[in-house]
């Protein structure tokens, strides 16, 4: 048994490609495929119809949810503002004596202590 080897020409290659990729030739095949395509499209359209209906129903719910989120957000912002205002108010009402007053008081007190010290010695 001899082992012949050869390299296919462009023509051989194209012919082999055509054979490999040949579409079915029976007419019955194409009418069956057409029926399957149309059934698939009908199923897809049916599913799409359901999704559309669900989307229609979901639209008001989404709008309500969006309003709720906005209201909740506004409430949070309002609460934070009140908290901040209260915090400032508490800081202002419990403020220590002014620096000038405190400095003057301490300097007078220091002077008295110095005079007492000098008199006592």
């Amino acid at each position: 048994m001899t082992d012949h080897r050869w390299t296919p020409s462009e023509y051989d290659l194209t012919e082999a490609l055509r054979a490999h990729y040949a579409a079915p030739s029976e007419p019955g095949y194409w009418s069956a495929l057409e029926a399957r395509i149309l059934a698939h499209v009908a199923r897809g359209a049916h599913v799409e119809g359901w999704w559309s209906a669900l989307a229609e129903m979901a639209r008001p719910a989404l709008a309500a949810a969006a309003v709720l989120v906005l209201v909740a957000g506004a409430a949070v912002v309002h609460t934070r503002r009140i908290d901040a205002r209260d915090a400032y108010a508490s800081v202002i009402s419990a403020a220590p004596p002014s620096i000038e007053t405190a400095a003057r008081t301490s300097s007078v007190a220091d002077g008295d202590a110095t005079i007492d010290y000098m008199l006592s010695h």
């Binding site: 082999a16 055509r18 194409w30």
Partner: protein
């Protein structure tokens, strides 16, 4: 070319009727284009079964997008672009699935050496060495007779890229198919 003009006018009328919701018109479009659509997707996917799935999916996408199609454009080019996208999408999904599911040892399909010529078998294996796009380009060009421009429009690539892919695909196949053992 009066026949071609008549054909285009008829097709446009069918498309417009389908856009208005006529199921019969859409069936007519399927009948007119399913063979070519099959060829386009078959050039991209790896098996006849995948081609059937891609054609069905492609027509479903076309049906959903039909109201966005402008009837003054060639319907075939629009449809085949959708088909190519459906096929490419299926190839991508198959790759993800195969990467998840394939065992380490992949069993080769049964081959009857008496029935299958060596060239056919080697070609099947060699085609797997091409990229998806190169394979699609060489099949659309050499088997289906698409021009480079048509291939570019169908696959959404520049015409020059289609030419380059064709060149590389042929070179790869030639290299892989050298010194084939001939069977009597």
């Amino acid at each position: 070319m009066p026949a071609a003009i008549d054909g285009a006018t008829t097709e446009r009328a069918i498309v417009v009727a389908a856009q208005r919701g006529s199921d019969e018109a859409f069936s007519a479009l399927v009948r007119l284009h399913q063979r070519r659509a099959y060829s386009v997707v078959r050039a991209i996917v790896l098996s006849h079964e995948d081609a059937e799935d891609a054609v069905q999916e492609g027509f479903l996408h076309a049906h959903r997008a039909l109201d966005r199609f402008r009837p003054d454009q060639p319907f075939g080019a629009w449809l085949y672009r959708i088909m190519a996208n459906a096929a490419l999408d299926l190839v991508r999904r198959r790759k993800v699935r195969d990467a998840d599911e394939l065992p380490d040892n992949i069993a080769l399909p049964f081959r009857d050496p008496a029935e299958s010529g060596e060239l056919r078998e080697r070609l099947k294996e060699a085609l797997l060495h091409l990229t998806d796009r190169q394979r699609a380009v060489i099949v659309l060009h050499d088997v289906e007779g698409f021009t480079h421009g048509e291939i570019g429009r169908t696959l959404g690539i520049p015409e020059g890229t289609a030419r380059s892919d064709l060149h590389h695909a042929r070179a790869t196949l030639r290299r892989l198919l050298q010194n084939i053992r001939s069977t009597p």
